[in-house]
Symmetry: C2
Subunit: 346 residues, 2 copies
């Protein structure tokens, strides 16, 4: 494999010195980019996930257009539950993706099994291999999966929302919940290992629905499974954990042994750094990118100046919003690149 | 006015001894009750808010059917912005309520003014007077309004969701935001005073969208306005503040001088009690009421046993879910009534 020209992200994750703060943006291959929308106009969402050619094309777009320091493979967290046996449907103009056969009770578990990633998710590995070849060492590539709890929430509910059935199952039938969560965890481990073997330099676990649980349920039904994943990947590939709206458990998340923790915008990054001694990723409020350029720079400066020196990966606190002007994203990326954490420190 | 037969809620709010923990339930006059749905089948939602006869009827239903220790006047937080000049529309089967003329820029402020509550919200006062007469001293009546930030979010966005425009305005045009927030605050104060004068024994401020803001923006655009309201009502009527997903600022919320603080289920009530020395309201996860009876009792017991003794108002951590079985709510209310905080302490 060709040596990376820009390995800032990897150096920060390894705790090595980096000359500036790296930046990438959650959902950077997305609807705010006209070039993405052009591909999307010709292909439906799941086809874009399943065709390595298309996935690779949109994965690389933000590297070339906005100049981020890492690519993240274009895919969806729900392809893993699909590979486990659920029927995934994304219909145009009918809200988000959904499963037509959700897991509502123990007997529904018969419709799912541990994912055979090499067989059913080979297209993700192919997309990663193609993307690595095309990136040709420009920047690292990030692979990802949803956390077991977040995937469980979709699998039980069948669709997005308040996930009432999924949450109720934790109280009412914890044994079935744990059975499905363990199956998800084992599947996620083999899925992330496959992504790493195909060429992903880093993997991120998205716990997007962490915030729906009380700290007690979060520990029992989410954290302990994320911990299994992190421990299984230790020494193989750096792991970033992003748990949205779970700052009540930040200390526990920081103790899992991940290379970095992504934080949302509802905690000051300095406060987070005071609680956990680990590389932090984030945490600009995504709506800042809808504001004027001076506001973007001043808000980005606040994050940069409060972040732990040399132990920070710049990102938004959540995915970039669909209506974000591309010009504004460039303003942000350029500003972060010019801001040198080592010179700015007081 | 007739002396209250059941003044448990008021005694706990005043810091006086109460023989047991009072219970009421956010959105207790709501869709889980067949008797509510029967009224709703004959009248649209806004008519139910505007007709004192109907509002009063559904307000009293949960007192009689499930036996809660307080009534809360049936209304909607959005009637205040409506009274300020926005055009409120609730269309059947088209999602939640919306404003057809949202405030997106400074010049849009010309369409709103401070509410003339005696003129435009007299129907709320009438509903309260009628309800107090019909309750005839059985339980106290709670009035309410949305927090300035939460109402602002709807007024700027025009509808529910991620409130992207509302949040962006805080960064991009804070002066316009503050102007609208101050107008909302002044309106909310006169609205709550009117409710108290009409007979509301307690008022609750719902900051339902607190969780969308960073702690810094929350202090600047929400807390300081809630503080104005609490200070204006001090000595007149006890205030309960319920700020959803804002536990990052719990200490600051606890310092506002309210009689009680409502907390959601994403913090242990014992942890909250360790942070703020004020009466706590909450915080059972609403999905527990979708679980079996033994689970409902055991989860309620956890909340009761961890809550500050004699300084706790039992409630859910958020509004009751539409699909909740009435039988389950009764199980909860009965359990809380039987559980005596003073005898159970160890």
């Amino acid at each position: 494999m060709k040596k990376l020209e820009n390995d800032l992200l990897l150096r920060v994750l390894r705790g090595e010195r980096a000359e500036r703060t790296p930046i990438w943006i959650m959902r950077q291959a997305g609807r705010y980019l006209p070039e993405y929308m052009a591909v999307r106009a010709r292909h439906d969402f799941l086809t874009m996930c399943r065709e390595p050619e298309l996935s690779s094309e949109v994965t690389i777009q933000p590297v070339e257009i906005i100049g981020v320091d890492a690519a993240i493979i274009f895919s969806d967290i729900l392809v893993l539950p699909e590979a486990m046996g659920l029927n995934l449907v994304v219909e145009e103009g009918r809200g988000g993706p959904r499963f037509t056969n959700p897991i509502r009770k123990k007997s529904d578990l018969s419709s799912v099994r541990e994912a055979d990633c090499e067989k059913n998710l080979k297209y993700v590995a192919d997309a990663i291999r193609l993307t690595v070849a095309r990136l040709n060492g420009r920047v690292p590539l990030i692979g990802f999966c949803g956390s077991p709890w977040t995937l469980f929430a979709y699998m039980v509910e069948g669709k997005g929302g308040e996930f009432v059935h999924a949450r109720a199952m934790l109280y009412d039938d914890p044994l079935t919940a744990h059975e499905l969560l363990q199956m998800l965890t084992t599947s996620a481990i083999s899925y992330l290992k496959m992504q790493h073997e195909a060429g992903a330099d880093v993997v991120q676990i998205f716990d997007s629905w962490a915030g729906l649980l009380s700290p007690r349920l979060y520990e029992e039904f989410s954290l302990r499974y994320i911990k299994q994943i992190v421990e299984s990947l230790r020494g193989e590939v750096p792991v970033i954990i992003y748990a949205k709206a779970a700052n009540h458990s930040l200390k526990e998340i920081g103790d899992l042994g991940a290379a970095a923790i992504g934080i949302d915008w509802t905690i000051g990054i300095d406060e987070a750094a005071g609680k956990i001694d680990v590389v932090l990723q984030g945490n600009l409020d995504p709506v800042v990118l809808l504001a004027g350029k001076e506001t973007i720079r001043s808000e980005a400066r606040k994050v940069l100046s409060r972040a732990p020196k040399g132990r920070h990966i710049f990102n938004l606190g959540h995915g970039i919003l669909a209506g974000t002007p591309v010009e504004s994203v460039k303003v942000l990326v350029d500003f972060v690149k010019e801001w040198n954490a080592f010179e700015q420190k007081r």
